[in-house]
Amino acid sequence: MIEEQKPIAQAGIDKELATLEIVVNGKIGRTLITLEEYIQMRQAQGATLEVIRADLLTDLEQGGRIFGEFINAMKPTFAGSINRFRDVGTLTELGVDIKYRWVAVLINTCPDCLERHNQSQKWEDWEAEGLPRSGATVCGQNCKCVLIPEEIAEAEPIFRQAG
């Protein structure tokens, strides 16, 4: 079933190429500290500047807990980050009066997107619920789902199995 759905998902991704918006973000939390404050905190805990530097550089290079989201947001667009584009531009062509179907790629898809997969509603309703990559689903900016016009998307329902 996944194989059959790939062309549909790809068609949606192709449509997303026409949109023009890049969102770059770091980790979003209630309490944020600056890098300077982080370094001071580590020093106060006894770490040397050399150790802190090595930790930070490793985290940056490996996309760790501090810089992971930053690295994901910065990845080159055509090295797998097409999903960062959003559908604003596409709407100018297709309009808001038709229904759009939520199509998930079904590879490492988050529970929120699995629930939305194959559902259809008008654009404004999706906006109210949360568009792909708008932060409404747990996968956040990494969401690879697309909204494509209902009439060209006939995704099979998916079956979730436990065990």
């Binding site: 890049i22 969102v23 979003i28 550089l57 080159p76 100018t92 065990g163």
Partner: protein, 141 residues
């Protein structure tokens, strides 16, 4: 069998990168896209499709994506909430920009002008910038 995974929620500091994101958007991503247009290159590194003869005749030159200069100067960035910056095009050029990026049909086939996005160069520059910042902050000076 249904598996339940319990993950330790270790409290870990979250770092504010807002200033850095703004710097990267303003000084790396946008100039990189403008440079791409100036050099006739896509953000993937290849050449932009050449203009049709009729287009060249109308514009008086063969530089792709440049006519009035509006598209080239329409990139902007704005902050949105915490740790988030959006890079986009002014609404006046967004529609035409999306057509060009998505591909326009010509009698010679579809031409796609992929000028918008983060290139490998821009990515490398952003990482270099962050590495430099880490080194400066941990230099002890």
């Amino acid at each position: 069998m249904i598996q339940v995974k319990v993950i330790n929620r270790i409290k870990f500091p979250e770092i504010a990168l807002q200033e850095d994101l703004e710097h990267i958007a303003k000084n790396i991503i946008i100039p990189d896209m403008v440079r791409g247009i100036d050099n006739g290159m896509t953000i993937m590194g290849g050449a932009l499709p050449s203009n049709d003869l009729a287009t060249i005749k109308r514009k008086g030159h063969d530089r792709q994506l440049i006519e009035t200069g509006e598209l080239r100067s329409s990139f902007f960035h704005r902050t949105e909430g915490k740790n988030k910056v959006i890079v986009s095009l002014d609404s006046g050029r967004k529609k035409i920009g999306s057509y060009l990026q998505g591909g326009i049909e010509t009698k010679y086939g579809i031409k796609q002008y992929i000028f918008f996005g983060i290139s490998k160069d821009a990515f490398d520059m952003a990482i270099t910038y962050m590495k430099q910042k880490i080194k400066e902050l941990t230099s002890g000076d």
